[in-house]
């Protein structure tokens, strides 16, 4: 009788475990739960070149200038041209200018001369800027400051409205400036090695 009770309990436990495993998102290991729509929405904020996931909101360069002066200029300098910080080796902190220099001995890699997609700019500012308060700008502010930086680079007009529809349509000057990795790209003759 005792044996019978134990086996009933064991079966009940097994059934419960199986049910839990069937419910789990990693079925072989019985762990994990389904994320809620809100949880995914809060983290899934990276914007690809086609603009999928861009939120409502809008902004112009005229509106963005005030945002830039208040939140960006202390590091990036007036009109994106005089950065406070300079990582000597990368030469990539100036935000504006440099068009027509990429093929020269002194290339200047800026948003205007180098960045291939405007969505990259929006996504990066939205997720990671300002440096000391990442992710603190409103969507309208991100659209506006993106517009301001594109305007400073002569890519859009001062009153052009950026939103989820227009931003992916902005064609960056260097969109086609990238090639696949070509390595190994160095043919090295093996000099004889003494053993």
């Amino acid at each position: 009788m005792l044996e019978h009770r134990v086996s009933v309990a064991a079966v009940a436990t097994l059934v419960a475990l199986t049910a839990a495993a069937a419910h789990a998102q990693l079925p072989s290991y019985g762990v994990g739960r389904a994320p809620t729509t809100e949880e995914i929405k809060a983290w899934d904020v990276t914007i690809p070149p086609d603009g999928k996931g861009l939120p409502p909101g809008s902004g112009t360069a005229a509106q963005g200038e005030a945002v830039y002066v208040a939140r960006c200029e202390s590091c990036h300098g007036a009109k994106g041209q005089s950065p406070k910080y300079e990582p000597a080796a990368t030469k990539r902190t100036i935000l504006v200018g440099g068009r027509g220099t990429l093929h020269t001995d002194k290339p200047v890699q800026t948003i205007g001369s180098f960045w291939p997609y405007a969505t990259t700019l929006w996504s990066y500012i939205n997720r990671s800027q300002p440096f000391d308060e990442p992710g603190s700008l409103t969507h309208d502010e991100v659209y506006a400051v993106t517009a301001y930086l594109l305007y400073l680079n002569g890519i859009i007009g001062q009153s052009d409205v950026l939103d989820s529809r227009t931003l992916p349509g902005v064609k960056m000057p260097n969109r086609d400036g990238f090639v696949p990795d070509a390595r190994p790209d160095v043919a090295v003759p093996t000099a004889p090695t003494k053993r």
Binding site: L26, G32, P35, D44, T46, A89, K194
Partner: protein
């Protein structure tokens, strides 16, 4: 009454001393190490004859000897403290494992501070069963431990035009090697059921910078680890606590730290870190992107820049070699600036995607010499000269400088970063 939980007891004795020492160390910084004052200060703390004194008591989490002062150095100094690289002191390295405390770091938004009980990993996108996992749940899954190097693709970026920095810490200190423990990413992806048509995975960190990086699904299904352990304990915060990717053989930035999200997708997202940073501008104005693999590379760590040989005599030259394409097959050593080479001894173990230690006995006759090493990996790739790289890539490509490094030993025994 003493609390039962040891963690509630107040620090006493050497443990408190240790904290005071650390505080002092922080205040005084690296200057001590170079002046030798640190050793003098440490001398005050130890008995004149250790065999005639009772040693100090045992403590829960130990520190190295106060006489050992090798430390990471953050650069570039022109940038904020939270932005940049923290270079590993390779000149003092021994063996192939980098201590977690000296493992190099690159941070774009400081060191994230995370409560592991609140941290979650989200896997979603083109999958049948999107999932939210806790760290405890991830640790319950079948795990592996593997020894892999990580190298920043910006390592050695100062050296394209001329010898620019004095020591191996700054020329090559953005490579490190550790034993990583975690769950194969392929296991997680098989469990959630990757949908047909998926080709990429976007990984995102939980720090302010996000470090969002797209990775080809084929690599994700091959050998990537979702790691929680490093060198026998939890990851250090600087190296991604409580969870990170470890992507064997590929540039360090794709091994996303503080991992919180994996989005399975059918194209790369072209985030800043992959579409702008970590691209290499070529002569002619086009830039290469998605340059994942780290080519074969090596460097002599002794003797290296900033060190000094006390005089002519027999020395053991030693250094590190590694390749993102698998195992190191051979390392050659030259003392005449690359005119003649001989094979160095490779120290076991020789592991794929890991640092390999090489050694070679060498007699210095006191004359000026140019020391070099070159790595040949298992596919037969030979580490190139800088001239060969520059001929193809120019000097503005920033990343993936895996050129042969030259150290010049001058007649006074001092060692300098040089060109052959």
């Amino acid at each position: 009454m003493e609390p039962a939980d040891p963690s509630l007891r107040k620090p006493i004795g050497p443990d408190a001393d240790r904290r005071r020492f650390l505080k002092r160390g922080l205040a005084l910084g690296a200057a001590l190490a170079t002046t030798g004052r640190a050793a003098n200060a440490a001398s005050q703390q130890v008995p004149a004859d250790s065999s005639k004194a009772l040693g100090r008591h045992m403590i829960p989490y130990t520190e190295r000897s106060p006489f050992e002062q090798a430390g990471k150095v953050k650069g570039p100094p022109t940038m904020p403290d939270e932005w940049g690289a923290n270079f590993t002191p390779l000149g003092e390295s021994v063996g192939i494992i980098t201590p977690s405390s000296l493992f190099y770091e690159v941070n774009r938004s400081g060191v994230a501070e995370i409560d592991p009980r609140k941290h979650r990993l989200l896997i979603h996108g083109m999958v049948d069963r999107p999932v939210m996992l806790t760290i405890e749940e991830i640790k319950r899954l079948p795990s592996v431990s593997r020894i892999y190097f990580l190298e920043c693709s910006g390592n050695t970026q100062t050296e394209w035009e001329a010898p620019a920095v004095p020591t191996v810490q700054f020329t090559h200190g953005l490579t490190s090697c550790a034993e990583w423990t975690g769950v194969p990413l392929s296991l997680l992806l098989r469990e959630v059921g990757v949908r047909k048509g998926a080709t990429w995975v976007l990984a995102e960190g939980a720090d302010g910078s996000g470090n969002e990086r797209s990775l080809p699904l084929a690599k994700a299904m091959d050998d990537i680890i979702v790691a929680y352990g490093q060198n026998g304990e939890a990851l250090r915060p600087e190296n991604g606590y409580p969870l990170r990717l470890v992507v064997p053989g590929w540039e360090g930035n794709v091994s996303v730290k503080w991992l919180r999200r994996l989005t399975v997708t059918d194209r790369p997202y072209m985030t800043r870190i992959e579409a702008v940073d970590h691209t290499s501008l070529m002569p002619g104005g086009k830039a290469r992107r998605f340059m994942f693999v780290m080519d074969a590379k090596s460097v002599i760590t002794f003797p290296s820049g900033g060190q000094r040989l006390p005089g002519p005599g027999t020395y053991e030259i030693t250094g590190l070699a590694w390749s993102g394409r698998g195992r190191v097959r051979r390392v050659d050593f030259s003392s005449d600036g690359g005119k003649t080479w001989r094979a160095a001894n490779l120290q076991e173990p020789i592991l794929p995607f890991a640092h390999t230690r090489f050694r070679s006995s060498w007699r210095w006759d006191g004359r000026e010499v140019l020391l070099q090493s070159r790595c040949i990996d298992e596919i037969g790739y030979v580490q190139p000269t800088l001239a060969a790289l520059v001929k193809v890539r120019g000097v503005n490509s920033t990343y993936h400088n895996n050129a042969i490094q030259t150290w010049k030993v001058t007649t006074d025994g001092s060692v300098h970063n040089a060109r052959a």
